[in-house]
């Protein structure tokens, strides 16, 4: 099966600080891939590079054959690749429902909006149906009419996932989706993401929570100082020497209590 996302030879440096060096990996359709690594290992930069927020110095990023490395963030979204941010900021003067409707970009032209053309009304109707469905799926129903900025940190994360899903992406990249999220909500999030995955959505998840990674991911990519040091299944993480070295330093033994 041809890969959904293919990253080859991607490198990025800020001055003399080489944040990513020759990154190669791929994500197959239907896969859930976790990206882990210590702080400063380049996880977020990799995510920013793929989503077009950070231009890469060299290398190629292909989404089903379409090169993304010189595309703008909004072009990349239109190719079916969505993302969320580590600290999602939400608007103060818009309700959760409005933010969700704004997250579908179909038919937002000036004239079609002002005149209320048929295409515009159809886009609005479809957007509403999708938004109502996502409110239920991501447990945001009871805050539907609240100001989006007034949500809790965890709810903002859920809302940013819901926003990313409004456009029906093929690949969704999540940046630390569970940081600051209540454990119960975390369990629901795993179930929701699994359900979406069964419907055909591929996921790439940057995360520190090993339980979350173990419960959800098919495969893990371990980054350390800008290099991929291991690619393995979540079960193999705690016995992989490169992973232990990245997290605990050279010469580390397998801990008596497993990482996960």
């Amino acid at each position: 099966m041809s890969p959904l996302l293919q990253v080859s030879g991607v490198a990025k440096a800020y001055g003399g600080n080489r944040v990513l060096e020759s990154i190669d990996f791929e994500i197959r359709p239907g896969e859930i891939v976790g990206v882990i690594g210590p702080n400063g290992s380049g996880k977020s930069t990799l995510l920013n590079a793929i989503s077009g927020f950070t231009p890469v110095d060299s290398g190629q990023i292909l989404l089903q054959g379409t090169p993304l490395q010189s595309a703008t963030p909004h072009d990349i979204v239109s190719h079916g690749l969505a993302r969320t941010f580590q600290l999602p900021a939400m608007p103060e003067k818009m309700t959760v429902m409005e933010v969700l409707l704004a997250a579908s970009t179909a038919e937002h032209g000036f004239w079609s909006s002002l005149l209320g053309t048929r295409a515009n009304r159809d886009a609005e109707r479809l957007g509403r149906e999708r938004a109502e469905q996502l409110l239920d799926e991501l447990l945001l129903r009871n805050v539907r009419d609240n100001a989006a900025a007034a949500l809790s940190g965890g709810q903002k994360k859920l809302l940013s996932v819901a926003c990313a899903l409004m456009g029906k992406p093929r690949l969704l990249m999540l940046d630390e989706p569970t940081a600051g999220v209540h454990p119960n909500l975390r369990r629901d999030m795993v179930q929701t993401l699994q359900r979406l995955n069964e419907q055909g959505l591929s996921l790439m998840i940057v995360e520190h929570d090993m339980h979350f990674i173990r419960d959800l991911c098919h495969r893990c990519i371990v980054l350390d100082r800008g290099h991929i040091v291991a690619t393995c299944t979540p079960a193999e993480l705690s016995s992989n020497e490169s992973v232990l070295e990245a997290y605990l330093g050279r010469g580390a033994q397998q801990p008596k209590v497993a990482i996960a």
């Binding site: 933010v99 000036f110 990313a164």
Partner: protein, 295 residues
């Protein structure tokens, strides 16, 4: 007295159009445009220059709208890589450049003297009927554009603008082309501001570089801040309030027997006081923008 009230109302309506235009940029889209008066000036000078060239009024107004939209497109592109506050300074500079051109290009603009004896919208009617028709036309226009503003704000386009205003990074990562959105908002706003400008020139039958003073932009900004940025009702209330404060000053001048220069200062001071009071006690304006609950 009726004529005086009609005059205040007409001016309030003209500034209402200009303030509604600024609200599209500053209120909905979050663009800090400190050179808004440039679009108004283009509309006003289009009527003036059209008159000198012997064109009828309506085509002159339309040319003014077109020219303002072209300038808006350029200004949006000019600042594509600037942060919003630096872009604001650039817009101030653009308006000043236009004012200096208007002041020095005597052959086209009449220089510091300006262009006078401009045609009115209703050239054939008698003077008092003219004023009444003018006021009625402007009230209809303000009502129409206020309604369109409300409709736009609630539409898919308006929602995209408000998302851009509050969280540009989120808007971009959801797939909006921010530059296109900004240019469109700016062009629509420019056309409306130019319409306001041509109405002003036609009503006062005069245009001069003073119409392009930066202080005029800040006057319109005060109207928005007093009424409520992003709220159509607030913008219209703010405009009416500032216009009433302005018109009240000549009465105070006669009553208190003060000189013209003091009266001018009183005018600015009064607006400043209202603005200060609003900022201190009602920072969102008298009628602040509210959350839109979707049915």
């Amino acid at each position: 007295m009726f004529e005086f009230c009609l005059h205040v109302l007409t001016l309030a309506c003209i500034y209402g159009l200009i303030a509604l235009a600024l609200n599209l940029q500053a209120g909905y889209t979050g663009l800090l445009n400190f050179g808004h008066i440039a679009f108004v000036g283009i509309g006003a000078y289009a009527v003036g220059i059209g008159h000198l060239a012997g064109w009828p009024l309506l085509p002159s107004i339309l040319i003014g709208l077109g020219a303002a939209m072209v300038l808006a497109w350029l200004v949006a592109r000019l600042g594509r890589n600037l942060a919003s506050d630096y872009w604001g300074i650039a817009t101030l500079a653009v308006a000043e450049i236009l004012r200096i051109i208007a002041l020095n290009q005597d052959a086209w603009t009449g220089g510091a003297q300006g262009i006078s004896a401009l045609p009115s919208l209703f050239a054939t009617a008698s003077s008092s009927a003219q004023d009444l028709y003018f006021a009625l036309t402007l009230m209809v226009l303000v009502g129409l554009f206020a309604w369109l503003s409300l409709r736009l704000a609630a539409s898919r386009f308006g929602r995209a603008l408000r998302l851009l205003r509050e969280q540009p990074q989120l808007a971009s990562c959801l797939g909006y082309n921010l530059l296109t959105l900004k240019s469109r908002a700016l062009m629509v706003s420019a056309a409306l501001a130019a319409l306001g400008g041509s109405m002003l020139a036609s009503y006062t039958s005069y245009v001069s570089p003073d119409y392009l003073l930066a202080a005029q932009t800040f006057l319109v900004w005060s109207m928005l801040m007093i009424g409520g940025l992003g709220s159509v009702g607030g913008v219209l209330l703010g405009t009416l309030l500032v216009q009433c404060a302005y018109s009240f000053v000549p009465f105070a001048k006669d009553y208190l027997a003060i000189g013209s220069d003091v009266a001018g200062a009183l005018r600015l001071g009064l607006v400043g006081l209202i603005l200060l009071g609003c900022l201190l006690w009602r920072s969102g304006g008298l009628l602040p923008e509210r959350l839109r609950i979707m049915p």
